[in-house]
């Protein structure tokens, strides 16, 4: 099944009952899938919005009304959605946003790229906030992480971003859908009428400085909890590794292929694959630095996650970078050459 469609199917199975989107390549099949399949549910709504900005604000409205809500786009469209994502974070509303990245900046092209790492992991819009960022590396993981994204969004009442690229979206692979857990969320915020209780408000406009500061610290404390509890990563062939590659998503897949080739040539190389890009597996990378002093960060951009790896290591060990931006997808053979070169230099 195709990656884009898998996200749609996983979302519906996870109880997503509101989707608004606006077409953009390479994620169109997701919007199409939601148009076709939301009607399977008796209570679901699909809207093709008039713009990306409209779509994210519809999602905000649906989230405020208590729905599991999702929107999706690709890089330029995600830029347009940032105001709404900032508002979701300010209002503490759960929502899932899918970014099937393409080459940038600007309109760029429609090919797979990882150029939106900074935007994704630093909040993306204005203000002091973070979004949880999940980076799948296979179609199976697209299914699993899409389901998890809704649970995480509910648990922390925070927007969750799925950061994949055109290759993940367009590629088909075998997939099995797991049974989603029943939805658990505090209904206290949902704007469904006050009944006999007090009036409810959701607002991001807090003019009083002290109250705004309090709100910022409250969000900060939430982000601290997420940082402690929700870090996810995978390690591959790290036990005896003397060189460690750090890569995520499509780049991590390619890295695995390159590592197999390098191992055949006797080069002891392994992989750390962050699955959550925020929170970033800082501690994990730091703990490896006790044994390994040679890191190679590989991204399909000119060097973004490499800054987080440097932060994690705090000056210990050597951090090198290899990247191909603009929609170029390097081959495992190409990366294996880079690893061999790197191993010789050492």
């Amino acid at each position: 099944m195709q990656g884009n469609r898998v996200i749609g199917e996983a979302a519906i199975r996870a109880g997503c009952r509101f989707y608004a989107g606006y077409p953009i390549t390479p994620q169109n099949e997701l919007t199409e899938y939601m148009a076709d399949n939301m009607r399977r549910t008796k209570d679901g709504t699909f809207i093709q919005a008039e713009s990306e900005i409209a779509a994210i604000n519809m999602v905000l409205g649906a989230a405020a009304a208590g729905a599991r809500a999702m929107t999706s786009s690709s890089s330029p469209g995600i830029s347009l959605k940032q105001e709404g994502i900032s508002s979701l974070a300010a209002d503490e509303l759960p929502a899932v946003i899918v970014n099937i990245m393409r080459g940038g900046p600007g309109l760029g092209n429609i090919l797979p790229s990882q150029g939106d790492y900074f935007q994704a992991t630093r909040g993306g819009g204005h203000g002091d906030y973070r979004t949880i960022v999940l980076a799948p590396a296979s179609v199976q993981e697209l299914a699993d992480l899409t389901m998890d994204a809704f649970d995480l969004a509910d648990r922390y009442r925070n927007p969750v971003l799925i950061l994949a690229d055109g290759m993940m979206g367009q590629m088909s692979e075998p997939v099995e859908f797991s049974e989603p857990a029943p939805r658990q969320y505090p209904e206290c915020y949902v704007l469904n009428g006050r009944g006999k209780g007090k009036s409810k408000f959701i607002r991001g406009l807090i003019l009083d400085a002290i109250r705004m500061e309090e709100h910022n610290w409250k969000l900060y404390r939430k982000y601290q909890v997420i940082t402690q509890k929700e870090v996810r990563f995978e390690t591959f062939w790290t036990d005896d590794a003397e060189i460690l590659i750090v890569a995520y998503g499509t780049a991590a897949r390619i890295a695995k292929g390159a590592i197999k080739r390098s191992r055949e040539m006797g080069i002891p190389v392994g992989l750390i694959r962050p699955i959550t890009l925020w929170p970033f597996p800082m501690e994990v990378i730091r703990s490896f630095a006790e044994r390994v002093d040679n890191f190679l960060v590989f991204e399909m951009n000119t060097g973004q996650m490499v800054e987080d790896v440097q932060l994690a290591l705090g000056g210990i060990g050597k951090v090198q970078f290899y990247g191909r931006p603009g929609g170029v997808i390097p081959t495992p053979a190409e990366l294996a050459k880079v690893i061999a070169h790197h191993a010789r230099k050492k």
Partner: protein, 178 residues
């Protein structure tokens, strides 16, 4: 073991369908498989292509920089992809409309007159399945039965006559001596 195939031709020749059915069939056989279509700036009547990677272990990249097999349904596709083919790889070409020979001398070339054969069956739309008959026979990775099972899954609820003509088309390609 990893085998990568690029299927290429005009939009409308069933090029993506060939790859997608093949991918389904090998999935049923328990292999790891990826299917990657070309997307985006294609136009009607323009070129279409897809890549299928099959392996008995995890597949790192679904892209074929050096495919083992090349299935070309029109001349532009032959020109575009022949130089990428791995040495000792195989080209399956639609000899009904491709009137030139590949320039590569270090590969196996299989001429399959799919247009003529589908014409004889009375349905030019099954050219792609004729081609798959020859492809499955020569590559030998999966059985004709598992290909037909994949085909049935993809065609799904479409009417029985579609299955029948496709079965004939596959058999014609499979039985062809190339």
């Amino acid at each position: 073991m990893i085998r990568k195939t690029i299927f290429a031709g005009f939009g409308g020749q069933g090029v993506l369908m060939m790859g997608y059915i093949y991918a389904h069939a090998v999935m049923n056989e328990g292999y790891h498989v990826t299917y990657l279509p070309s997307y985006g700036v294609e136009v009607r009547g323009g070129t279409a292509n897809c890549t299928v990677a099959v392996s008995d272990e995890e597949i790192a990249s679904p892209i074929a920089s050096e495919p083992d097999y090349l299935v070309v349904m029109n001349k532009p596709s032959l020109y575009t992809y022949q130089n990428r083919l791995a040495p000792q790889g195989s080209i399956f070409l639609n000899s009904s409309i491709i009137d030139t020979k590949p320039t590569r001398k270090d590969v196996n070339i299989h001429d399959v007159p799919v247009g003529d054969m589908a014409g004889k069956l009375g349905n030019p739309r099954v050219q792609n399945i004729v081609m798959m008959g020859s492809f499955i026979k020569k590559t030998g990775l999966i059985t004709p039965e598992s290909f037909m099972k994949g085909l049935k899954q993809i065609l799904g609820e479409k009417k029985k006559s579609a299955m029948e003509i496709n079965r004939k088309a596959f058999a014609a390609g499979y039985e062809l001596e190339i």
